[in-house]
Subunit: 225 residues, 3 copies
């Protein structure tokens, strides 16, 4: 996740990475509290949410052991977030709006760094963008699977989450294609994805479901869960 | 997934691969519609179903990045299938029988190509057959896990699914063992698995459950484990 | 999983490995019976439970193909356990206490061998301990995810499971740090984790949940599921 180090000041990049990991970990820990998990469940869900997307990407591109296991800071940050939620969770839930903002920042950052890292490991542009998207959303999917819930990523009744990450990854890929990747353009990609996600939350943008949806569905509508 | 290229005409093999990916993607997209997912959920579930088994096999044998990320056609086909289901899903459901036929074809093909690819990467015969089976059924398992359902592979009330793939992989392994792997024999393995699966559907073949199964079981007693 | 071979007599080590795989497989097969899965579901769940943690570790450290695919004994043992449960499951359930003892032994063994193997592949001490923990608990998490249940690892109403494995992995890491890893010390680590787990079961030790837990939770308490 230090792949933009030649683009952005390494310490800035590293700090942003840790911020993304931290806020994703908060979201995992909060879900664990809501599901009534114990302190280890909170720590596990925080770590999986924060590191799952990056680990998946690293395994796919052959960058093993994944950065999550070689960089101590990546490993400790989720545990710190879990401890925070464990002791302070009513306060943390009260600042849910702030969590959304940070989570959006993590989404923007991870889709960009994920795309760049995949490209650096020799993948094509489309595959790099796909892995950037997977880096950004993968942790949340794993979080929901472990909590035995339908991933929010897939549900129609959640505000757009994948699209901002797709746009961010798409901008990066276009910049690479036209040799325009720089600290400025990658920063712009992060900010675009971040802003789009905030707009999606603020205006409750949702994605359409399949056309001609029949009202009588055999399964209980998971969307109302 | 191009591993039979020396056995079968590459273009034929590639076309069959894409056909298998396509029909698995259709099954994933249809489940997503039934679960009331939005358009991105449909695309994700289609892709995971179609590519999950192959990605798992490739990670296991060290063939990273997986073919799903390096071959554009493998990546685009599930999205095309998702779009088709999104716009036409009542029609697609009406041809459910056809989907079953194609899915059986995908099952037959993937168990054979998966076994051959694993063997080419140096695995033993038993392990190759196991990975061929995993290639064929893995995508469906991931589909069901993401949709928060018990994988149909595991459920007693579904027609035999694993056995046809096991037979197909077993034939390939026997052919390799006795130096008889050829376009003809691998084609026979595909057709055998395909036909067995169709027979299992047509005659509702099911696998036995544990003997002495007590009738009064609830799913509840898990807490007492 | 033969990494302690220079520490422990290889045949002893191998036997212990197989014992751990066997008892984990039994626990997976029993859950499959309770979930009413058919004979293939039983075999799949037994294999995933027994081999999942080790496969995850091997993929993370780049030891592909994982030992589970290269060593025939690792592959056959879960199938044997599944067959046993299939034919004898009321008897097997009656000896549930014995299963708990063996499962605790598997936990102790896997957290130690997992940590050592990760360290041998060049990971740092913290990461090695984390992977040792993942080796010990990973199979059980996969088992529960496939069975569509909340992983017992995460639930507050189960006796401590992660802590004994953490202690075992921690002892190994300390021994490595102070150059004191030997058959004796690694055996002590196994026994400590094993004994702690048995104590946790016997005295119903549980981990705390988040402080200030409000009684009115939005989600249904998963613990009572």
């Amino acid at each position: 996740m230090q792949d933009l180090s030649d683009l952005v000041t390494p310490s800035v990049q590293h700090g942003l990475d840790l911020a993304g990991i931290f806020v994703f970990a908060i979201s995992g820990a909060l879900l664990a509290v809501r599901k009534n998990f114990d302190v280890f469940g909170i720590a596990v869900l925080a770590s999986v949410t924060a590191l799952g997307g990056g680990i998946f990407r690293d395994v796919m591109i052959g960058a093993v052991p994944p950065a999550a296991f070689t960089e101590l800071g990546y490993f400790v940050t989720p545990l710190f977030a879990a401890a925070l939620v464990f002791f302070l969770h009513p306060e943390v839930e009260r600042i849910n709006g702030a969590v959304n903002v940070f989570d959006a920042a993590g989404l923007g950052l991870f889709c960009v760094t994920g795309t760049v890292k995949a490209y650096e490991y020799g993948l094509g542009l489309t595959a790099s963008a796909a892995l950037g998207l997977a880096t950004a959303v993968g942790g949340g999917v794993l979080r929901d699977v472990l909590a035995n819930e339908v991933p929010s990523l897939l549900r129609w009744d959640r505000d757009l989450y994948a699209v901002p990450a797709m746009v961010g990854a798409g901008i990066v890929v276009l910049c690479i294609r036209f040799d325009a990747l720089s600290p400025l353009t990658s920063g712009l990609a992060v900010i675009t994805a971040f802003a789009l996600r905030l707009l999606a939350i603020g205006r409750h943008w949702r994605a359409p479901r399949a056309w001609n949806r029949r009202s009588a569905v055999s399964e209980r509508p998971e969307g109302q869960m």
